[in-house]
């Protein structure tokens, strides 16, 4: 991965500045005859402050893509340029540490960043307010509901001082009502903190509800099939007719992609 200082340039126009640039990215697992091509020549520019939903059926390498951007896995080909931005990654499971309190789980992220002990406590408290969990800092993760835990995970990601948030189906395990409310919350925090979000999901409506843009990936190997700009102004509702209309157009494409693998 090449990292340049481009993101810190002053004079660039914020609306066109690219936060994450993927250029011809490919990823192969294994070697020889059993090698599996997970991603093939994926190119994608994510502008600063943009919310991009990445959508695909099973086997499109969505999660792989985020791991690559986060720098957890080496690339097979191409380049990923995150231009000096701080990244954080969230999963479907909150993956909180059970031996720490809720506040402790946030403080550990601050600690790894080298924040002083006294400042950690205060900052963790503020982050809990951001995710509307003030007063829950001394609880243990298992004492919270699934939606609350996922908000703690979000606060932990924010504690890393990340301005690029990579989210791997973060609401996939939640019920519809909770997910709906968390969409509002994520949208609010994204806007307040001017985050750049790469949001992976297999839920078409969720992708349309949240994204400025929806990127559709093919399956095995993952390639960019098509991009859809979501024109509808925010705040949107997941059950609005506009969201539903675009979602059904995208679903048609997704279905076609899935049936391509029938034979």
């Amino acid at each position: 991965m090449t990292v340049t200082a481009r993101g810190t340039d002053a004079g660039t126009d914020a609306t066109t500045e690219v936060a994450v640039r993927l250029d011809g990215v490919s990823k192969t697992y294994g070697k020889g005859r059993t090698a599996l091509l997970a991603l093939d020549d994926v190119s994608l520019d994510v502008r600063r402050g943009e919310f991009v939903s990445i959508l695909g059926a099973s086997g499109c390498g969505k999660s792989t893509l985020l791991s690559l951007v986060a720098g957890l896995d080496p690339l097979t080909g191409g380049t990923i340029d995150t231009a000096g931005h701080r990244l954080s990654l969230m999963f479907q499971e909150p993956a909180l540490f059970p031996w720490l309190t809720v506040a402790g789980n946030i403080e550990i992220a601050l600690r790894m960043r080298g924040v002083e002990r006294a400042a950690r406590k205060e900052q963790a408290g503020r982050l809990l307010e951001v995710v509307r969990l003030e007063g829950f800092g001394r609880k243990r993760p298992h004492e919270l509901s699934g939606g609350m835990r996922q908000r703690v995970a979000l606060a932990r990601a924010l504690a890393q001082d990340a301005d690029v948030l990579l989210m791997d189906e973060p609401f996939g395990a939640l019920d519809a009502m909770t997910r709906d409310i968390l969409h509002d919350e994520l949208e609010r925090i994204w806007r307040e903190r001017e985050l750049t979000v790469l949001f992976v999901t297999h839920n078409v409506r969720e992708a349309v509800r949240l994204g400025d843009r929806v990127v559709l990936l093919s399956s095995r190997p993952g390639r960019v099939l098509e991009e859809f700009a979501v024109e509808q102004p925010r705040p949107r509702r997941i059950d609005s007719t506009q969201v539903a209309a675009l979602a059904s157009a995208i679903t048609d494409q997704l279905r076609a992609e899935v049936s391509r693998h029938a034979g």
């Binding site: 957890l72 993956a95 790894m112 509307r132 909770t178 919350e185 609010r188």
Partner: protein, 292 residues
């Protein structure tokens, strides 16, 4: 101001959902009552177990299967216990034996941890030593005594040697499986948070493997205690009047009540220490939310 009300209602929605999902708060008044009920629930099976054991014992005595001086009734042994327990020589024996147990166990913990971390860390070691450790665990530790006596003569060291050999494999194994089963998502979180090398162990691997480690400690203690009792009966160090020596002396003097009294003491110590480990284990599981 519509924007303000929207912010307010969004906050209310979140707060309302949280309240609903967490369920009704438990009332404090009921706590004392439930505590008493819980204590009783935990106690009565133990009381019943003792009653059954003592009852069966008494029945065997009544059947006159063996003469009373060889197999005394429970009441006679209880008398013996009441006489022996307050004496200084009894406590000296207990202290000596427990001192040996503590030293051996502490040594086993240190050695087990070093081996455990080394094996978990270095792949080549794992293949070579991993199965060896499991093999050691299945070995009755008494097998080691002839060799220990040859190595260390009749001495404290001979006993410690076998106690450590008995306990260390379980402790190492507990740690290894703890480290092996750290959930991969936690490790990825650690990676994302920037944990590397020592800080990865300190903030993630060690705390995450704690429950399994405690299980290993508990098992290690059981092995240590067994090895120690075998050792004290086989390796009688002159002048050291341990519990094992008391047992042996009682046998030599045909003092059946004394023998049974010390057997009961050994049982009680084992149970007490097990309670300590179980309490730690339970507290840990509760903190982690692993119990319902």
């Amino acid at each position: 101001m519509p924007a303000d009300t929207e912010v307010k209602t969004a906050a209310d929605r979140v707060a309302g959902l949280d309240r609903l999902e967490l369920g009704p708060a438990t009332r404090d008044e009921a706590v004392l009552g439930t505590w008493a009920r819980k204590a009783w629930k935990g106690t009565w099976p133990k009381v019943l177990a003792i009653a059954i054991a003592v009852g069966a014992w008494q029945l065997v005595v009544l059947s006159e299967w063996r003469p009373v001086f060889v197999l005394p009734p429970p009441a006679r042994v209880l008398d013996e216990l009441v006489q022996v327990v307050p004496t200084a020589k009894f406590w000296d024996s207990v202290l000596l034996t427990m001192g040996r147990a503590a030293t051996g166990f502490a040594l086993a913990v240190v050695i087990g941890m070093v081996i455990g971390i080394a094996v978990a860390r270095f792949q080549p070691l794992r293949a070579a030593i991993g199965s060896l450790i499991t093999g050691m665990q299945t070995m009755p530790s008494i097998v080691w005594f002839p060799f220990a006596i040859l190595l260390f003569k009749i001495s404290e060291e001979a006993i410690l040697f076998v106690v450590v050999l008995g306990a260390a494999p379980s402790i190492a194994n507990g740690l290894i499986s703890g480290i092996d089963y750290v959930p991969p998502t936690w490790k990825r979180v650690g990676q994302i948070l920037g944990m590397r090398g020592f800080s990865l162990y300190r903030h993630l691997i060690i705390p995450a493997s704690l429950p399994s480690f405690v299980t290993g400690l508990k098992q290690g203690w059981a092995f240590a205690w067994r090895s120690l009792m075998a050792g004290e009966l086989l390796v009688i160090v002159p002048g050291a009047l341990s519990i094992g020596v008391r047992l042996q002396t009682s046998r030599d003097l045909n003092d059946a009540p004394g023998l049974l009294a010390y057997i009961i003491i050994v049982l009680c110590i084992g149970i007490l220490v097990d309670i300590v480990f179980s309490t730690v284990d339970k507290a840990l599981r509760k903190r982690w939310g692993l119990t319902v």
